[in-house]
């Protein structure tokens, strides 16, 4: 089976690891080989969390710079920071709602314009899907469902070997019961907007 390499970048607390778990579970249930890796050393202290997911016939659990087929960014500046993980054929999906790091908040750094970020991502890679996942999550009734909106957008690209149905059943299986309904709604909205 062909190999598809996905990198997800997020800020601690955005639910990146849950999104990876959903994708992993959906793959396992569909019989698609999957291996994942995560680095989240100091996520609770506001750091960056990165997951790598390798679908198909490969043994490695990590992805080298320049070798991601898809980059999914939960935060626009972090998506841009992860551009080195891409090549000109990479498909990029980014949330456009910024979470400025503390260094910016105290005036020790300048947050790039969202338009600049999107323009660079679009120019340097195969294509860019940019959506305000925070607004969609809010609309779906759960501000924390940014991860589900973005999973929806990811599915809409059709690049991943997992089906939307298997992802929905994984969401039902592993996300908290109180949130299943809004999570599914957020996922559907992400699919629709990106599709």
């Amino acid at each position: 089976m062909d190999v598809t390499r996905l990198i997800i970048v997020a800020v601690g607390g955005q639910g990146n690891l849950l999104a990876s778990k959903v994708l992993g579970e959906a793959s396992l249930c569909s019989g698609i080989p999957v291996r994942m890796s995560e680095i989240h050393g100091m996520a609770q202290r506001g750091g960056v969390v990165e997951s790598a997911l390798v679908f198909g016939d490969a043994e490695s659990t990590i992805i080298s710079d320049g070798e991601a087929d898809i980059l999914l960014g939960f935060e626009p500046a972090e998506t841009l920071r992860a551009l080195k993980r891409c090549n000109p054929k990479t498909v990029v999906i980014t949330n456009t709602a910024p979470l400025p790091p503390f260094t910016v908040a105290i005036g020790k750094g300048i947050y790039p314009e969202i338009e600049t970020i999107c323009k660079l991502l679009r120019e340097r890679t195969a294509s860019l899907i940019d959506i305000d996942a925070a607004a969609l999550a809010k609309e779906a009734g759960n501000v924390l469902a940014v991860n589900m909106v973005l999973l929806g957008a990811l599915t809409a690209t059709g690049i991943l070997p997992v089906t939307p149905e298997s992802i929905e059943s994984a969401i039902e299986k592993i996300t908290r019961s109180a949130f299943i309904e809004t999570n599914i709604k957020a996922f559907e909205m992400g699919r629709k907007v990106a599709g």
Partner: protein, 620 residues
């Protein structure tokens, strides 16, 4: 029921490497486990956290010990009473346990003892990237190293069997990448654990006076020979392929080699030796592997451990084929490897045509602001650092620090950390600096770290009459690694019965520290006064800053403070943002604002505002 305790052989699920290791131990009938927390072998959802939860619903005995040496001693006794025992620690933890380890290797065990050492190439969360395979060589003990997640589960049973076969502990070495990888796992059957031990007295084999140890060392050396034979037969030391190009790999590098060989379409040109039982190295298997090789490449993160061994084996057999690994144009001793790097090096070494993936031009990408980890909003450590800075304003100081969340205080503007080498070093180095230099020494240590290895240093300081102030940051948990308990924690309050409790203040007073004070760091004025007094004391003084970790309080739903806001009395001095730098602050058009979702209501900023402009949000 805890998912890792389910007696459901054949069940397939995705597990983290750490979970697979925990499951493997349960399948192997492990009855006793000890640890001192340290990422990557700890943190929530990981090995010891799983043991802690499983112990409450199974016959497993598990404890968080005060440090790795104690953890290994506790485990050594259990294993010498016949119980299958595991002792989990991060790589640098083995340094702490090394004294116990080196002679336990002589004494051996009767029940299987597996010591897990989690190495950390790239230092994702560690102070060094030492390669603990050398502990195998130093102690004479066997080492096994898994390649992928499900293998970590299987290998646990193998390691216990090996330990019992040889009658000695086995080192189970992982790296962060394996611990934090997720992969499919198929459950095996659970062997019923033997939970009650029996210690058979045999002082002439178990009490290491010189006459006994001379005998035991002979046995250990014989055991290394036996272990070498087992290493040659091990299912984890295997040769695949019979091409003329030899590649040797261990751990996660085996995966990168497999993918590279497939990507480069050179399967029929290579033979791969994967080494999963890496000490002692399998000599006869290596000779078999080298026979017919044109050239050999060794792929191993860290030190040239296998490279040195394979070169020595080749040399004594008169084999002159080129064996390379660590070299200027090949592999580095530094950091982690990745699939692309391994692919490129294999292509270069064996002269395989290879087009590297096209890189994106990043030269004109605007600078992206850094997102460094930061002390949490409302963290009491920040208050203490601010208070110490105020109390010592204008003084020349040296501030040794220690290992924990508070290490982050070394960054500006708090700038509270000048020297750090290892757990507990704040205390010992304070003695040295205060004796060697004229500056006033004020050092920082966390509560868990104080219990781990701060106490002997403090006794030393009292005995030798050193002159410094030690601030013990008592947040009543081991926060950095995921809120594990320690001896000072009130376990009853956390709904865990059957524990004792040690008071840091009683320990400090019992040691005879001449000047001891306890502060509540959220009370700024009183804390500064107490710190000033402690610093003025000539001799050893200790300030205990007592405030529960805000992140823990939040997760236990104990946070009661109202958020604060900046009122229009603000004259924009910005002392709050410049001196405290709490992440709840942000600038909006040059004016300081407070994010009410982040503010925990600690009220420290309101106490330092010269205009008293920071006020609690009404009605919340």
């Amino acid at each position: 029921m805890h998912k890792l305790l389910m007696d459901s052989p054949g069940e397939k699920m995705l597990l983290l490497g750490n979970e697979a290791i925990a499951r493997g131990a349960i399948e192997a009938g492990m009855a006793f486990a000890t640890t001192y927390p340290g990422t990557p072998s700890s943190a929530s959802s990981e090995i010891s956290a799983n043991f802690f939860t499983m112990a409450s619903e199974s016959p497993l005995y598990f404890e968080y010990s005060t440090n790795e040496k104690v953890a290994l001693e506790v485990a050594a006794a259990a294993a010498n009473s016949g119980l299958r025992t595991m002792c989990v620690m991060k790589h640098v933890g083995v340094n702490v346990a090394a004294d116990a380890l080196m002679t336990l290797a002589y004494v051996g065990v009767t029940g299987g003892l597996v010591i897990l050492t989690a190495d950390d190439p790239y230092m994702f969360s560690s102070q060094n990237e030492q390669d603990n395979r050398y502990y195998g060589k130093l102690s004479g003990l066997p080492i096994v190293e898994p390649v992928f997640v499900d293998e970590a589960r299987q290998m646990m049973g193998y390691a216990f069997d090996l330990s019992e076969k040889l009658g000695e502990p086995v080192l189970f070495r992982t790296t962060t990448r394996l611990n934090h990888s997720t992969g499919p796992v198929t459950f095996g059957a659970i062997r019923k654990p033997v939970t009650k031990g029996e210690f058979k007295k045999d002082p002439f084999s178990k009490v290491t006076v010189p006459a006994v140890s001379r005998k035991l060392h002979v046995r250990l050396v014989e055991n290394i020979e036996r272990a070498e034979r087992l290493s040659c037969e091990s299912p984890y030391n295997t040769i695949t392929g019979d091409g003329p190009w030899g590649i040797v790999a261990n751990g996660v590098s085996v995966n990168y080699v497999a993918d590279a060989v497939s990507d480069l379409s050179i399967t029929d040109r290579v033979r791969v030796l994967r080494v999963g039982f890496s000490h002692p190295m399998p000599e006869s298997l290596i000779l078999k592997f080298l026979d017919g090789c044109e050239k050999v490449l060794i792929v191993e993160e860290g030190e040239p451990f296998m490279e040195e061994a394979i070169r020595a084996i080749a040399q004594s057999a008169g084999i002159t084929v080129s064996i390379q690994g660590k070299a200027k144009n090949l592999f580095s001793r530094l950091f982690e490897y990745d699939p692309g790097l391994v692919r490129a090096k294999i292509a270069a070494y064996f002269c395989v045509p290879y087009d590297a993936p096209v890189k994106i031009d990043l030269s004109d990408i605007p600078q992206i602001p850094q997102r460094p980890p930061n002390l949490c909003a409302g963290c009491s450590h920040r208050a203490v650092f601010y208070e110490v800075n105020q109390a010592t304003a204008g003084m020349e100081t040296i501030k040794p620090t220690d290992i924990g969340c508070y290490t982050l205080g070394f960054l500006p503007p708090l700038s509270s950390g000048d020297f750090l080498i290892c757990m507990g070093s704040s205390v010992g180095t304070s003695s040295g600096f205060s004796q060697a230099c004229d500056q006033k020494v004020i050092s920082f240590i966390g509560d868990s770290t104080f219990f781990h290895s701060g106490i002997p240093g403090l006794i030393n300081a009292v005995f030798n009459n050193h002159d410094f102030t030690l601030v013990i940051l008592d947040n009543q948990t081991t926060a950095m690694t995921g809120h594990q308990p320690h001896p000072g924690v009130d376990m009853m309050a956390m709904n865990h019965e059957g524990y004792g409790r040690v008071s840091i203040e009683s320990v400090v007073r019992g040691i005879g520290v001449p000047h001891v004070s306890v502060i509540k760091p959220y009370n700024v004025k009183k804390s500064i006064a107490a710190i000033r007094e402690a610093v003025a004391h000539k001799g050893v003084s200790v300030v205990i800053a007592r405030q529960e970790c805000v992140l823990l309080a939040k997760s236990l739903k104990k946070l009661k403070g109202k958020p604060f806001y900046v009122s229009d009395k603000c004259k924009n001095h910005k002392n709050c943002i410049n001196d405290l730098a709490c992440p709840a602050f942000y600038l909006d058009g040059g004016r300081v604002k407070i994010d009410p979702n982040q503010c925990t209501g600690c009220s420290v900023c309101t106490q330092i505002c010269p205009e008293h402009a920071i006020l609690p949000v009404k009605g919340k």
